[in-house]
């Protein structure tokens, strides 16, 4: 709070808030570490072709289940493909998928939730009844159903993971709106003849979004894990694509003899999700206007 008062005569509120958020975010060690490692993971997966001399689908039968060595630090899989290379390329699938599905789901969910929670009455009832039906099929189950119908694959996995995430955002945002609805500041906005869109997204949203941010952050991680789960049971991204979940699926039959084949893809998922969650936690702390140090 102190940095606001110092210096500037009368800083515009919006600027100082944004600056405050950025400052809090970057000075939070957990968030910073998460962001840096996540950036490294993203860079490695983007520049994978320059970082490794193998291709993810190079088959070499002399190297079947080769143990980790200098040439192949993480060993080789059932077809003698270099594990490290496959892991590096694998990040592309999981990251794109996780971010796209979670963000699209959150934007749709929060928007619907805001409208329902603020409008109340009939709108709220109809929306929430639809969400009742929607969310009574748990996300993972819905994803399995959609993947079964649409077929496995990258685009369909994104669709499957997005659809399941929407009711959560709606419910969370709407529940917060219910508490916030009767607040005086909204009354004041209405008295000033503020447009509804402005009230919803400029005034109401910042006050109801902090739990949703935690939720959305976790849903990025959750989406990555869900997609890996789908791939594991054979409904997500298919082999030979080097997706982490499908690598786990390919490796499960040799769990007793070659444990590293399933150890490393899982560690990659966990590390990525962990970094996203660490960053998200920092973001939550930074965004919460009511935070007191």
């Amino acid at each position: 709070m102190t940095e606001m008062a110092a210096g500037a005569v009368k800083p515009r509120k919006k600027e100082s808030y944004t600056r405050m958020v950025m400052k809090r975010l970057l000075t939070n060690p957990t968030a910073a570490i998460g962001l840096v490692i996540l950036a490294i993971i993203i860079l490695v997966s983007v520049f994978a072709p320059f970082l490794t001399k193998y291709s993810p689908n190079d088959i070499d039968y002399t190297l079947v289940y080769a143990a980790p060595s200098a040439a192949h630090p993480f060993g080789c899989d059932a077809l003698g493909r270099d594990m490290l290379t496959r892991l590096m390329y694998g990040g592309r699938y999981s990251l794109t998928l996780g971010f796209t599905a979670a963000l699209v789901g959150a934007v749709i969910g929060v928007s619907i939730g805001l409208v329902a929670g603020y409008a109340g009455g009939m709108t709220d009832m109809i929306v929430m009844r639809i969400m009742d039906v929607w969310s009574s099929i748990p996300g993972m189950l819905l994803a399995i159903l959609i993947s079964t119908t649409m077929g496995a694959g990258f685009g369909n996995t994104i669709l499957a993971m997005t659809v399941g995430g929407i009711p959560g955002g709606v419910r969370g945002t709407r529940a917060m709106c219910l508490k916030e609805r009767e607040m005086e500041y909204l009354e004041a906005e209405r008295a000033q003849n503020c447009s509804t869109v402005r009230i919803l997204f400029k005034h109401l949203m910042p006050n109801v979004i902090s739990p949703t941010i935690v939720g959305t952050t976790m849903s990025i991680g959750g989406t990555i894990m869900g997609a890996a789960g789908l791939a594991y049971i054979g409904l997500g991204i298919q082999p030979p694509n080097p997706e982490w979940g499908s690598m786990l699926s390919e490796g499960r039959s040799v769990i007793t003899t070659h444990p590293y084949v399933i150890l490393f893809p899982g560690l990659c998922i966990a590390a990525t999700v962990l970094c996203i969650n660490m960053f998200g936690d920092g973001l939550r702390d930074a965004l919460d206007p009511r935070l007191k140090k």
Partner: protein, 315 residues
């Protein structure tokens, strides 16, 4: 409040009907007819047609939908498995208790371990206990549950030989599936609870309570926690649904003979009645959990209660 309860219960029936409709509609568009999978490659088009005709999958959508809804919701007949020729309901009778037990144990562990941990963290905010528990919770939510399951099999079954890796013979078979199903829920719950309690700690009514000299114990247990736990209870309903859906993948890892494995067999074998029955049953449990949570929510949140008692029942 009676009206609220009645309304919610009636809605459960509507929800289940809608879920049935949704499941049928989505499954209707699955490419490939049963004959393509169940008959041998030598079968002629005529044989395939007759096979499909016997199963009724050549009828128009609306006829099939009507028959499905009538059989499922009026006659409680979920159809017969195309592959095993066993009524789906009969098979579900054996399997549902296992999956339901797994999900219920998981949610009980979530609530009774996750919530107290979250409260403890919030009470000791930024102290070593808080940091330690939050690091553990962070690790918990970041680990794919099915990978944790695989790692447990590797450690406890392959290396140490303490626990059986699959099946359902004895109580030891349940240990790893239960842990795999509940770790994420506990971690999520602890984090959400902590976050909810911290929001409340800063609330004005807590300051007011302290200012007027309410003993600290009462501030926490009478003023703060009841308010903080409202959103947490709301989340438990969804958590149950997630636990139930999560069992599908976990059951696959442990070859645990529950609804999930049955459903996966159904998906792989184009066994529509099996898939429909499994999804409907899992969704029904999830819907009931949400209903229970909504009822509790209505009773404990005075703001919602007031809406219904202050003449606003029709809103």
């Amino acid at each position: 409040m009676k009206k609220y309860v009645l309304q919610r219960c009636l809605w459960l029936i509507v929800v289940l009907l809608c879920v049935g409709f949704l499941i049928f509609t989505v499954m209707y568009f699955v490419p490939g007819k049963p004959a393509d999978v169940l008959l041998t490659a030598e079968a002629t088009a005529q044989e395939k047609y007759e096979f499909n005709q016997k199963l009724g999958v050549n009828d128009p959508y609306i006829v099939q939908l009507g028959r499905y809804m009538y059989n499922t919701f009026i006659k409680f007949d979920f159809g017969t498995s195309y592959v095993y020729r066993v009524p789906v309901l009969q098979e579900l009778n054996n399997r549902v208790p296992r999956t339901l037990t797994l999900g219920t144990i998981a949610i009980v562990i979530n609530a009774f371990i996750g919530i107290p941990l979250g409260v403890a963290c919030a009470m000791h905010q930024n102290k070593p206990l808080d940091h330690l528990l939050m690091i553990l919770a962070m690790a918990g939510i970041s680990m794919p549950d099915f990978w944790l399951a695989l790692m447990m099999i590797l450690l406890f079954s392959v290396k140490l030989k303490w626990l059986p890796p699959f099946g359902i013979g004895s109580w030891q078979n349940w240990i790893m599936p239960v842990i795999a199903c509940s770790v994420q829920g506990v971690a999520v719950n602890a984090r959400q609870t902590r976050s909810a309690v911290l929001e409340t700690i800063r609330a004005d009514f807590v300051t007011t309570a302290r200012a007027k000299g309410v003993p600290e114990h009462d501030v926490i247990y009478k003023h703060m926690l009841p308010n903080a736990l409202i959103p947490v209870i709301n989340m438990l309903g969804g958590a149950f649904g997630r636990a139930i859906a999560g069992t599908v993948v976990i059951e696959t890892v442990f070859s645990f003979p529950g609804v999930g494995v049955y459903m996966m067999n159904g998906i792989n074998g184009r066994d529509y009645p099996v898939v429909r029955g499994c999804v409907l049953v899992l969704a029904a449990f999830s819907a009931v959990a949400v209903l229970i949570v909504d009822l509790i929510y209505g009773f404990i949140d005075p703001r919602i209660k007031a809406q219904y008692e202050g003449g606003g029942a029709h809103k």
